[in-house]
Symmetry: C2
Subunit: 418 residues, 2 copies
Amino acid sequence: MEAPFIVIIASGSEITAGRSLDTNSGWMANELFELGWKVKKFITLPDDPDLILLELQTLKRLAETRPVLVLMTGGLGPTEDDYTLETVLKLSGKKSYSVEKAKIRLTRIYESRGKQYSDILPTVIRQTHVPEDTKTLDNSVGIAVGFVEPIGVDSYLVCMPGVPSEMKEMFTRRLVPELKRIYPRENLVQKTKWLWNIGESLYQKDFVETHRDRLFQDVEWGVTANRGYIKCIFQSTDSKKLEAIISELETQYSKIISDDVFSFVHEELLSKNLTIAVGESCTGGLLGKKLTDSPGSSSYFIGGFLTYSNEMKEALLSVPGEMIESFGAVSKEVASAMVEGIYQKTNARYCISITGIAGPGGGSDEKPVGTVWIGLKTPDGSIETHSYIFPGNRESIRENASNTALFLLYQSLKQRKI
Amino acid sequence: MEAPFIVIIASGSEITAGRSLDTNSGWMANELFELGWKVKKFITLPDDPDLILLELQTLKRLAETRPVLVLMTGGLGPTEDDYTLETVLKLSGKKSYSVEKAKIRLTRIYESRGKQYSDILPTVIRQTHVPEDTKTLDNSVGIAVGFVEPIGVDSYLVCMPGVPSEMKEMFTRRLVPELKRIYPRENLVQKTKWLWNIGESLYQKDFVETHRDRLFQDVEWGVTANRGYIKCIFQSTDSKKLEAIISELETQYSKIISDDVFSFVHEELLSKNLTIAVGESCTGGLLGKKLTDSPGSSSYFIGGFLTYSNEMKEALLSVPGEMIESFGAVSKEVASAMVEGIYQKTNARYCISITGIAGPGGGSDEKPVGTVWIGLKTPDGSIETHSYIFPGNRESIRENASNTALFLLYQSLKQRKI
């Protein structure tokens, strides 16, 4: 079977008015990419039934010439401006019916709040409706039922709720197995590695171009730029080819390569009963925030110090005033004194300090905007310091600095492990 | 003249693969909304010249029936997969030429790096090219020149770079004046107010529905949900009508209404030479991060304490252990003791503490997940505490808590001002 022409539609006037960002389409495209499917087009439409119908009619006509898969989110809610079901019924000329299982679930939810079926508004009941002769997709998070409507030979229109948590659960648990059944294909393997503080174009030139002929046959690759790191993605049906690439990548970039730093740091600190504390200047709390993003972080994150001013570096972390005077607040010496101060106050096994110039002001020829010193005290008592000049604006420099601090922690945890 | 049918196109395979999020389209739609224009459709396409051409041909055909305005970003860069210029030349049957001004600018940039014109790669020079007979849009941030290509009666295809900083500058400085000239229209006035910790649907029912007949004639309204607050947007050509709505809104929601809290807090702390320090438990640094997002925040943000563990609440902020024992770490008493401790250690004029249960674990019947106490010590020495039960997941609760803390600060600063 020919691979389907995949189109993702997001409906919602709040998106086309620029008041809300559609993250569903990108999320689905990424999931599909990992399954080996490439999306050909995203479309976003306001809650306008005429425009939606016009678009679906165009796609249905396209399905007369080749397999088409349309994934649409939004418009299945209980408000006036939810038009998806109505539009699909117009498109297909079908009638709708209420899915018994969903109706029972809805009734139970109302009963648990001390209400009964007759209290439920018709627009809420409408959410349990789907067109006749469709494959239904259960919603285990919310109310609205999803469905897969045939629109041609090997062609389908999938309608799902726009609430991300409902859509994601439905996509992963209900839709993906269905898609694998409808469009059977070879299993694609994917590998991802992160490289730190290196540009996308330099990586392409030094790695992809250099090894293209030898390593990249039948391998798809992609790269995405993030704050402080790039993600290198490789896909193939041949896992040996991927292994060869990863091995070459690990040799060439041994000092700056990592897996997912955020999840590794979390898992490792948690499972090894380690503790950590931080002292932040230019990042103002961003490192602490990142270290406490995951549930369970209270097991390892003890606390920290936001020593934004020089006075606070002295008062809270006992950094000598003369040291700040002589070397400047953004210096190897101060980064080192900060971690020592954090350790004295918290006794945490790992201590991290960050001091830098986030800009836009405060830079000099000697220490330009973006200059950041990071200090790390490890459980063996040793202190290491690293300096960087991060590119970009204030936000970018702060993100770079806190992510890179986590990468240094990752490297230390990784060495411990070996 | 009939209002144009506006379509925004973003091109980029990294977007349709889900590796990068298109924020350009939403940004432009929002800017256009404030100018009184509504966007009918967003389209995102991979870097595939055939798909792009097909789409532009379809839109050019639509322009035979009505005015169409297409705003396209991306594909003007110097790499192999930048196809915008080539595609537009195919669409129009025109030739391109190099814009003299842009070529001079490019040469100067190369000369400043000690290189000469002959060093510039042809693909880089291509960025200075535009189709003949178009209105050019100067790029004062990067290299690639934008242009406005006529595609029918009162219909235009605008091509701009995909780099957000280049596009935004070009859009605001070059394109908007051009659009106002091409599509003259009445001046639209817009007012925005924020309401805190109230649901979108409750606001719609209690305010919009209640006053619809009396206040909303010839007024467009919108509402967007954010973390801790909703933004209420009103537009009209009649500024008196907007004033009547704002006045009603301020009366009905006097305790929870605000303007942009983030910019007000920044401006006010800065201009009044005030200082602030924080102590954060469940937010782990997020409040400090938000208070230091803006350049210049070092003038008022002294520092803070990330007292994530109970031990650190005692050690760093002198919260009595028996108090934590008796009332729990998430309590009015501890929030109050925390701000007092922050003040003792920093002498900041404003001190804010946050202690709460961000979840998903740690909740109880008495204190469910989402329970947060916020303490605020003001320059007159008084301490106020507020409790909330914030909805949503861990991330949402942490965002809600830190934003609401800034709202409390806003209210206190506002009262001082009066």
